[in-house]
Symmetry: C2
Subunit: 134 residues, 2 copies
């Protein structure tokens, strides 16, 4: 599913970085800076276009979380399976926590089964106060 289109140096180094990202959230800017630091010359436009393509192919997940900030992308490691995960955002310090939890994973199912509503984890964020700020 990643074999569409040509194989170019740019796509190789971008995908390499994403694969080594440990499924962290990365922004376009981070990718750009990493490649720049590594001495790889890749244009911003190329990153935008390729990341969009990878998102469509299911290789990445795209999140819109911060207000002014741009989108975040997460590499989906197919070996790990598609683990859904939830986001908790602290209203005080702004920190974003990524939570994988079986209990929380059942929420989506419950809402679907009992309320007929299909939750999109990409867009859903729990707001509140984190441990450190309390």
């Amino acid at each position: 599913m990643e074999n569409k289109g040509y194989r170019t140096r740019q796509r190789e180094v971008i995908l390499e970085f994403l694969k080594n990202s440990n499924s962290r959230h990365v922004s376009i800017e981070e990718v750009l800076e990493h490649l720049k630091a590594a001495g790889e010359k890749v244009g911003r436009t190329t990153i935008y276009r390729y990341m969009e393509k990878l998102t469509e192919e299911g290789v990445l997940r795209k999140y819109f979380i911060e207000e002014g900030a741009g989108a975040c992308y997460q590499y989906v490691d197919s070996a790990q399976g598609c683990h859904e995960h939830f986001h908790l955002k602290c209203l005080k310090c702004g920190k974003l926590l990524h939570v994988e939890c079986d209990y929380l994973n059942q929420i989506g199912k419950h809402i679907k089964d009992y309320h007929g509503f299909e939750v999109d984890n990409t867009k859903t964020v729990f707001y509140g106060i984190c441990k450190d700020c309390k």
Copy 2:
């Protein structure tokens, strides 16, 4: 809590429109157009600043749904008491569902006990696709 700052014509007409919005989600652009149609001259900047202020005061809730598109705001009718239940917002039709459910009420407790995070139901919204749009 709405009594901070001066009372001006602009703030009055903006708040008036919001109160009559039936807690629908409205964009900055909608407010601007409505006021323009009503013959009220209010600058776009003023709307941005005042809506931001109202959001901080808890009078409005701010949503980020579409990528390229701007933010949406919802008037919080305190008489309705939207504090003890959850909200599901449909990404297609924009409808906001208010759900009271014991199961969902346990979520907050779980997140607090297991993840040390205190969820604010006022600000948390589940995004997804509703029954009718599916």
